[in-house]
Chain length 505, copies 2
């Protein structure tokens, strides 16, 4: 009896998975292919599908089936039991927010997003402020309802949507550890790097050639172009489902690295999604384990694997082949210095590995204060600028390079930012174990062989889907609970290496 | 009370419209952008959305609302009353076919389509036959159920899905008229054309330049590239919704005309969709009036407006500009002879204006016989070949250029073929009135001005949406009931013109 109840649930969630896949394609198309004037039409389509998805997921039938299946779960395999848990999780999240609030939030964020664009164009935060205020109010209501339903503190309930099982306590502990070391490390690194000058990489790098290079490397990594695409969009992103995965980047003809590294970052996401357990692809337990783990996979590939000397050894002849470049500035050591340059910058998306978590830390503090009401929306610009000065020693001269730079709050994504820093921390911790388990990893990367890397990741990370929590995953993959110590060790050894070793390419 | 019931219905159908728009984008993407290996994933997404669309449309709530609104329709405007009628029509069609039959048909046609491809590749009809047989059986069941529900003969019920209000009686009358004149006209035309030799249009015409030419002409016609796209696919088609319309064609670098005329054919569809009544875009009454009228609009543009001397006058300098071509073969008269060449060919999609209806006529006869059982699937190849020989005087040497050439039956589209011939007949009848109403039409076209043409079409055809039947529309637009006489007059005057006039370009 319970088996057939369970099977009915799988059927229901298979349908929901198809809905989400369709929604993902609608978003991909909107960013990559859709004519500019058609946003209204697409908005209606996405809203209709999301509303229906919500209605299907919160239907009494699902709750009935879940109750029955969970009451009679003996005989189910452990993957099936984990699947039931994840089904319940999805349903609990969905049902906690009433449809009326979702619809008000959808309207408020759609207005706020438009005003955010306008405010950026005019450089006037005050155009955006009242709309952000409305979003903050609604998100606060949502956090309260979610928190009640999930038995979590309001902010933790928001985090739980993006990164299940992670709490403010985890995040606070992480930022405490990072804040103890990063500010001084940034100073020391910049001083060291100033003593080791970098030759400029001048030239024109046509988008079509950059694309060919990115495709060659993505193929070597294992990205399946018969079940995926690489396109261009204003900001790099990954959409789609494991059977049809869509990666984008943006090629700048004056910059040989930005488009490639954007594509590799997204390929990290894609490889995670592609490595999810094949048999559970269309079920909740077969999904990724949240944004912190997603971000760990893109950062592991882009920041740790690709911004490295072994990868530059692999890349050097490819640059020569695709762009016909050579000379001292195209030697491995100079390339490596380019991709590991640390700068005190104002813009998060342009930040390096060291300053990035600092950007995130500020946003985390501010969004919590916005939600509790401790910080009023009108005071956000000043709090932002003061926070940047205090943490990175630089101060935005206007709000476009200050608190207007990110879209997240405009679209209601509170609780999302921490996943960026968590991702960096998780990536470094996984990498420590990966390096000790996979012998000769550097030489493999230098030869353009990524099998050892992804073999380990499939076994310890990707193949688990959403079966275990992030904490359990980290414990079993690395033998340690989630900790920022590995990240600190990793960046210290990478950025404070003595000059002698850095010269030996 | 009734007004609010009516408003609720509008809300429900707005949502269904958004679903259909999303489905259309999923199909567009599958043909234009999707990686080859992802067909299974897309199939699941389309099936999930179609199933849900069907469930929403046939929900008891819709029926209740419809009954209530129709019982209290006083006070509603005539557009609203027509909208109610079209809502009911959609619901009646959907509810007549049980979900189980729809699902069996979906599976059978998906198998049959794959086997059709395989059979074409191997040139073996027998690989396809058992799968086609299954589809025929299921379509027969569907036709019977639909016929009962709609009070129509089974085949007429299938036609009614594609071309509402058209019956076999209309189609039979049309083919009777056409078959009396076309076979002899084809003979006479070919004899005449043999006496007027055509200079070959040699050269290489790169896809990118063909695209630029097509875009320039589509812009002149009024295609809105801020709310639409032109892409390439294996076969030209139009998808999307009026606010985001997607046209495709296929460019052959050895053929200066095929890609352009494909794009113009589809632009005819797009302009119809774009001209549908703005205020009713997301409602049933705002949709196109079925496939016969759709096809009339693409054929009117491609065959009548563009395969003409005035259009060649407009095109000649554009060909020179885009391809740098000149010389006697690029003169208007020679271009015109190229686009009006009549040939006895085996392939429908390559057929000219004169032989095209003959191809359709054969398919119409055969699909009716398949459905009644008069013709067994195993005997289809011989019946096809004999039919071609009898009607056009040529005989396929294999089934790939015979009964395996079209995808329609594999995917269960019985009752669709007649709309191609109906479209040609409707186009010619509209054109006769259009010419007499719009003074100086030829000179406008020759100058690349399409405002007069589309002004008339918006007023008499596009702007009516689905408010009136095809028959009513023809009556009001042309003063005559639907008749094949105009088509016969049109092709006679076009293809039997005396040699003297043809020389005067």
């Amino acid at each position: 009896m319970s088996a057939s109840t369970y099977k009915q649930l799988e059927q229901e969630f298979r349908r929901l998975h198809a809905f989400r896949g369709a929604l993902s394609l609608l978003r991909w198309d909107a960013a990559v292919m859709m004519p500019r004037g058609s946003a209204d039409v697409r908005g209606d389509q996405i809203a209709a599908l999301e509303t229906e998805h919500h209605a299907l997921l919160t239907a009494p039938r699902i709750t009935r089936l879940l109750d029955r299946a969970q009451a009679n779960s003996q005989g189910l395999a452990d993957w099936q039991i984990a699947n039931l848990r994840e089904m319940r999780r999805q349903r609990d999240h969905a049902i906690a927010t009433p449809a009326s609030l979702i619809s008000r939030l959808a309207k408020a964020t759609s207005r706020a997003e438009a005003q955010w664009l306008e405010a950026r164009q005019q450089g006037k935060f005050e155009l955006f402020a009242p709309y952000l205020e409305e979003v903050v109010h609604l998100v606060r209501d949502k956090a309260a309802l979610l928190g009640q339903a999930l038995n979590l503190a309001p902010y933790d309930a928001l985090v739980d949507e993006f990164s299940p099982g992670i709490t403010s306590a985890d995040i606070d502990a992480m930022f405490r550890a990072l804040s103890r070391r990063l500010p001084s490390l940034v100073r020391e690194t910049i001083a060291l790097q100033e003593a080791r000058p970098t030759l400029p990489l001048n030239g024109k790098f046509p988008a079509s050639k950059q694309r060919a290079l990115a495709v060659e490397i993505m193929k070597a990594i294992g990205f399946p172009f018969d079940r995926g695409r690489l396109d261009e969009s204003e900001h790099p992103f990954t959409e789609g489902v494991p059977g049809d995965i869509r990666v984008t980047t943006r090629f700048d003809p004056d910059d040989v690295f930005s488009g490639l590294l954007g594509a590799l970052h997204e390929t990290g996401h894609a490889m995670y999604d592609l490595g999810l357990p094949q048999d559970w692809r269309d079920q909740p337990v077969g999904r990724d384990r949240g944004m912190a783990l997603e971000e760990s996979q893109s950062l592991l590939i882009e920041m740790i694997i690709c911004r490295s000397r072994p990868f530059m050894r692999y890349l050097k002849p490819l640059l020569e082949k695709h762009f016909g470049v050579s000379g001292p500035e195209w030697e491995v050591e100079n390339l490596y210095r380019h991709v590991t340059r640390v700068r005190r910058g104002l813009i998060r998306v342009d930040a390096d590995e060291l300053t990035y978590p600092v950007h995130v830390w500020l946003r985390y503090e501010l969004e919590k204060q916005l939600l509790t009401g401790e910080l009023a929306v009108k005071d956000l610009p000043e709090a932002w600028n003061a926070g940047m000065e205090q943490r990175l020693g630089i101060r935005p001269s206007n709000d476009v390079e200050g608190c207007l730079q990110d879209i997240h709050w405009a679209v209601g994504s509170f609780g999302y930012f921490p996943s960026y820093a968590l991702g960096a921390v998780i990536a470094a911790q996984l990498y420590e174990s990966l390096r000790s388990d996979v012998k000769g990893l550097d030489d493999q990367i230098a030869r353009g062989e990524f099998g050892g890397l992804f073999g380990w990741l499939r076994k310890h990370v990707h193949g688990l889907g959403a079966k275990v929590s992030v904490q359990e995953l980290m414990k079993s993959a690395t033998g340690k609970p989630l900790t920022a110590a590995c990240f600190v060790r990793y960046v210290e050894s990478k950025y404070l290496e003595p000059a002698a070793s850095s010269a030996a390419a």
